[in-house]
């Protein structure tokens, strides 16, 4: 196990199986933080979860995000990723609407 001091996640073995779960930090940007009422949350997931599956869990937790689900941009750390991307320990996910710089 990596040094957890500087990580935003925890990993631990469940009592009855070899499946490990981890806590993934999810950040909300732009009006998504208004919809959820928070800038970030953490979600406990099984190892091997994809970004798309995590997004589903987030939408189940914050129903207000469901309407924008198809246009949501998904980022792992600082790079855009598609729904099939498999999350790893320590990944930080960001969800936000289309960008509007300039």
């Amino acid at each position: 196990m990596k040094n957890a001091e500087n990580k935003s996640y925890q990993i631990f073995k469940t009592a009855h199986s070899n499946i490990y779960s981890m806590k993934i930090k999810v950040r909300f940007w732009s009006y998504f933080s208004d919809l959820t009422g928070c800038k970030q949350t953490s979600i406990e997931v099984d190892q091997g979860i994809t970004l798309g599956q995590l997004h589903e869990k987030v939408c189940d937790k914050f129903l207000e995000l469901k309407a924008a689900k198809n246009s949501t941009l998904k980022v792992v750390n600082v790079d855009y990723q598609d729904s099939n991307f498999v999350l790893s320990d320590g990944d930080e996910v960001s969800l936000f609407p289309p960008v509007q710089g300039g």
Binding site: L73, D79, Y80, F96, V99, G101, G102
Partner: protein
């Protein structure tokens, strides 16, 4: 290719920026672009825009775009400033300078940079109505 990138809450001072311009003897084109906050956004009259940025990712995405430009065109330098926080009507939210030997690549790179920024760099607007 020389790069200067600044995501800042400070006013964009174009005169000061031009004073600090550095051009080699090979350069033959300087393209600059200023993006200004308009008084009308859609149907609404507005007083300002509050820009929010995911800074760490914005810098990373800008660097990826600069790298792509460097591979496509012979550009001498790029300077880019994007303001965040509250930007009032008539103030610049964005300033870009592209320097190259010839105008064709300078215009093309500037256009590419702004187009890519608008689709990839995580900066958002929040309208402040009058």
């Amino acid at each position: 290719m020389k790069i200067e990138l600044n995501i800042s809450t400070e006013l964009i001072n174009e005169i000061a920026l031009c004073k600090h311009q550095t051009i080699s003897e090979k350069a033959g084109a300087v393209v600059t672009f200023s993006g200004i906050v308009r008084a009308q956004e859609g149907e609404s009259q507005i007083s300002a825009i509050n820009y929010e940025s995911f800074d760490e990712m914005a810098e990373h995405q800008f660097k990826l775009i600069f790298s792509e430009i460097n591979e496509r065109w012979p550009i001498e330098s790029i300077r880019l400033i994007h303001r965040i926080g509250i930007v009032k009507v008539n103030e610049a939210s964005l300033w870009v300078e592209v320097i190259s030997c010839h105008r064709k690549e300078a215009f093309a790179a500037c256009q590419y940079l702004i187009n890519e920024m608008k689709s990839r760099v995580p900066i958002w607007k929040k309208i402040i109505n009058k």
